[in-house]
Symmetry: C2
Subunit: 229 residues, 2 copies
DNA sequence: TCAAAAGTGTTCATCTTACACCCATGG
DNA sequence: CCATGGGTGTAAGATGAACACTTTTGA
């Protein structure tokens, strides 16, 4: 089977920058390429968009196929179209960025990717294609977005402590924050619900656990009050 | 001549949302389609991306070819890939948004477009394809961006009065601002250079003319001080 | 009883907002 | 001399930044 067009066409792919967080650092998921070009190099999960398939669907599908991840927060980032970015031919890639909580997402490359793993964003291996630039753009977007949109919660477990939340902001924004001011500010926002539970199995005073209250957030958003950390 | 691929490929286009400003309103440039589909309907300037051509180049080229505009501020916005957005086949469009000052840019459709004209954003005709959604996205981006990036200056003449600048913000953000507070704030930012010139041919006290001081802005940006209106 | 992290208020400086009148110019 | 927009300051309230000690818990 083959397809014929009057004019030449670039190929179209999606690539996903998936962020995860643990105690140590902000991480990105990479897969080891099983095929040429850049065979053996680390790259972002992604692949070709099918004709008739929306871009969002393609990103979701590739993520599922290559990393086993589903139902993560996924948002279009930017489209990379430099004709030299792929050595084979002109391949335009629509990049997505995704946030997920690392806990319980042990990655197994359950498909044709050779291998999948999390890497700290400040210690990435050399990447295939222009994927370094894509990760860079995703990081910029994350940094810009996290301060005025409640996206960071996707990186945390469902129930989290204020200290975990503060550390998330500190890791993403790469600056330290004052504990008292941080708590005052986020509690005043009114989007955290106290679960009346506390941490278990910690060898110090157990912290309260909070949840992000999506409904409350939507209400505030409609009222024109804006989230800002 | 024809081109052959092993897998089907979507077509790739760019579309540009070009904003301009006059005393009355924020405007968008549209062209009347000379060919099917949607022949006779208004649409965003744009067209097919050539293989081997970068997306930015394609956007610039299409803008030049279809509207005669050059050297406008042009930035990638979002990529629209719904397979149904073009009735012919799956066409993925990378949308750009552009800012230009309307003065002296009399549009002449100097090419194959039937006609080109400016329309107030709050009074657009029915548009071809999903171009309404694209304009919407561009407006959202403009509103979000103008408050913390000095992009609005692209919409003003090179030398402008503070009142013109204030009106620009009021039109984009759709809310009124206090004259004294506005002036205090923007002058304190330190990115406006007083040209020592004043308006001519006005039948009232002539206002001072200012220029945007790009160098000063870059310095402040490097120092980590951020622009915010 | 010690180590480790949780939790909590006040002060000072800065920024935001609201608000009204005189000035310069051309017709 | 009048119409039109240009230009200016102050006070009150809200917000942001700096800062240190006590509490709880498990080992």
């Amino acid at each position: 089977m083959s397809y014929n067009y009057e004019y030449a066409r670039a190929a179209l792919t999606v690539d996903c920058v998936v962020f995860g967080l643990d105690d140590e650092s902000l991480k990105v998921m990479l897969i080891e390429r099983a095929i040429k070009p850049f065979k053996g190099k680390w790259a972002l999960p992604g692949g070709f968009v099918n004709v008739g398939e929306s871009l969002d669907d393609a990103a979701e599908r590739e993520l599922r196929e290559e990393t086993g991840l589903r139902q993560v927060f996924l948002e279009q980032l930017y489209t990379f179209g430099n004709p030299k970015r792929d050595p084979r031919e002109h391949v335009v890639s629509v990049a997505y960025f995704a946030l997920t909580n690392l806990e319980g997402h042990d990655v197994k490359a359950d498909t044709d990717a050779a291998n999948a793993a999390w890497f700290a964003v400040d210690d990435l291996p050399q990447l295939a294609f222009d994927h370094e630039a894509i990760v860079e753009a995703a990081l910029d977007r994350l940094k810009g977005k996290v301060r005025y949109r409640p996206v960071g919660f996707e990186l945390l477990p469902e129930k989290f402590t204020l200290t975990q939340m503060q550390k998330m902001y500190e890791m993403i924004l790469e600056k330290e924050m004052d504990k008292r001011n941080f708590r005052k500010k986020v509690l005043k926002l009114g989007v955290l619900r106290d679960t009346n539970e506390v941490q278990k199995d910690v060898s110090h005073r157990a912290a309260k656990l909070y949840e992000f209250d999506e409904k409350a957030y939507r209400k505030l958003e409609k009222a024109g009050i804006n989230f800002e950390v």
